[in-house]
Amino acid sequence: MKTTVQQSILHICSHCGDICNDNAIYDGNVFFCCEGCKTVYKLLQNNNLCGYYAVDGSEIHSLKKLSTKSISRFAYLDDSSIAESILAFKNDKKAQLVLQLPSVHCTSCVWLLEKLPHLHPGILRSELQLSGKQISILFNPEQVTVREIVELLTLLGYEPDISLAAMHKQTKDTSNRSMYIRLAIAGFAFGNTMMVSLPGYFDEGIGDLQSTFTIMFAALNILFSLPVILYSSQPFFKNAWSGFRNSTMNVDIPISMGILAIYSRSIYEIFMGIGPGFMDSFSGLVFFLLIGRVFQKKSFDALEFDRDFNSYVPLQCTKIEHDTEKSIAASSIIPGDILLVRNQEIIPSDAILLSANGHIDYSFITGESTPVEILKDTLIYAGARVLGPSILIEIKKEISRSGLLRMWNNTLFRKPVSSTLLTVSTLFGTYFTFGTIVLAIIAGLFYLPHYSMALSVFSAVLIIACPCALTLAVPFTLGNIMRISAKYGLYFKNTDTVLELASVDTIVFDKTGTLTSSLEGTVEYIGEDFSETQLRLIISGCLSSTHPKSRILASWLCMNNNIQSLKGLHCDSFQEFTGKGWIAAAGKYTIRLGNYEFVSHRKEHKDQIWVSVNAKLLGYFIIKEGPRHGILSMIDSLTKALHVDVFLISGDSNRNAGYYTSAFKGEHSLLFHQSPEDKARFILSKQNQDHAKVAMIGDGINDSGALMQSNIGIAVAEHISAFHPGCDAIMSANSLSYLDAFIQFTKKGITIIKAAFWISVIYNIIGLTLAVMGILTPVYTAILMPISSLTVIGFTLGMSSFAGRKIALKENQ
């Protein structure tokens, strides 16, 4: 009786029709993908609108059913100073609250959350921003408090993320707005200057009106181009200037030179009456360059890459003072304070336990996946999560001196500022700038002593050599790669990280939570067989339980016994004891499932999960943590096809090492019992000794040092909005098995950029030949520039999309 559960059974959400992920909510005989869908379903049901679903016999629940969750922990929001610190705006009649809701994800969520004014009269308006997972609520502070709103959201299944870091995030980024305006002005000028410049190029047809029209067109050209040079092209000048000041060359320096050359020469030609100038090419150039910038500036609103320790420290603590609970801000705790920490809350600072015993989960700090039991007077480190009943602790250190923060401030954990793109673009900028200037001077000298001719050739070279097409190749290729990767679950922080991934030659994996999953494993059952009804009841109990191991059991039991639905089963009662197990009763059966002590009532510790029916011990389950589905073949392909060195580094013990020895080329690539500092040091030594480009793939704060030290740190998250440490890229856990395809994809991206460089070099050779020969007229530039830009854009977009299809093929396999 042994099978490996590789995926939970697929359930279709009864409301939105999405495939439910591992967090499927089972209710009666239907599944939901999220609380929002469930609530909407119930709401429709309550209003007799269920013809839509054609369901019969489901129980009717009200929103209150969900209130079994503990919501008293929001009591600290009654403290007006804390409540006001999270308000976006407030006066007597109106206040606005902006909250992050990590669990928002689908259309139904929008529907429900924008109906908040129907649920509470004090809420005037609510508006959800789906991409940023952010809700903005306008309410009347006289009728409803912040706490009530937060509790209402929690009841609906959307618990807001209230932490110091989430609060800071709310400062809105308006740079995108100004980018759009810059782009719009450049586009406007481009179109209009083209319209008035065109007659000037073919001035034969205008006849005797020529002179007056020429003046008007010249005036209009200057008028249109003014905002382009003064406003739209500012980002390039700013970057070029800062590069110039720090004496580092960047690609914006030749761009700015080109822009200034084309603009000043056009002004000169117009005022000297030589010709119509290049104003249309000028605005077109700025327009295309800005399109490249906007395309590159793809950001994922809902994701946060730069997490710091603020994200780990809770905003509020419950202090015990004279036997009364008092809510205080976490930043104000001092040594000697006595705090009450509830289930799932985080210990804010190093402390000792005052309660008799408690359960602590250190997985985020050390990577050790089994919760530990601690006894009175034990030191608990900051960042640990409490499991089970609330505990009392006495603070020993201020937050600023806690181990968590010390670890964060460790110099080992500071990222050295170096990026390949920076060096590539610096090198490129240097050579290109000097090359252009030298060529321009030589060409100019060649025409001496004809000063005007020499000057015009000099500026023509600067104009045409402006690396417009070249600079478009990088943002469009990398921007497109970012978009395509995001579709398959890999989110890059910015385009630089795409290049980093392409050049990686060593990959270090964390084990717990990265290669292994808390939701998959090999299950074995030893003991007496269950009857059909008992089995159904056990599955139902496992589905109701929130413990990850119960989920594994449920999906294993369903698969192994071929059970598709639990229709007709009614659980009379269900009670869960965190850290121990659960009791479910139905009809004549009472089932207890959990650790040995809980199930058998004997004071003895055993590792397995035991089960009893009507107080009779039947047997036990063993869950062995194995690697995720497809991981081992992915690692195989990394070493064989991509010639990458792979290592496994874990804070955990080597109890399951057997799974990995074959894939990781033997024992020396497997490192166990590693502290967070050891991990960072290992990567540092790889970088220094072997000059390796290291990618670190990890999930917890215990990896954060290694993630920062590595050339590219990829955080793996079960759910993209879930908690993860600071990193360069975020990967959804399901996509980890196509890591090799992603790396191949980024490598192809580099090839595409190189090919695009050659295309633009061909255009540049044509243009430079014309320029050096002194026959570069405005007509030629007006044709050459847009064509070369459009060719490069079309080529890079088309080729990178084509290369991205490989990932889709791999996903379908």
Binding site: L44, V110, Q129, L130, Y180, I181, F188, G191, N192
Partner: protein, 61 residues
Amino acid sequence: MEVLYLTIGISVIIAGGFLIAFSWAVYNGQYDDRVTPSIRILFEDQAEIKKGSDDNQTPLS
């Protein structure tokens, strides 16, 4: 040909009008969120849901 002065003038004014309208829309926050409004517009009013849902039978899995 003098009519060109008029037509060019008008065309520039119209184009400028659109530029101003676009700037207003951007600063008004209409481009801050480009996902949710596309979903929001598809929600029917409360009364219409009742009518539409009865003849829209989706089988459960």
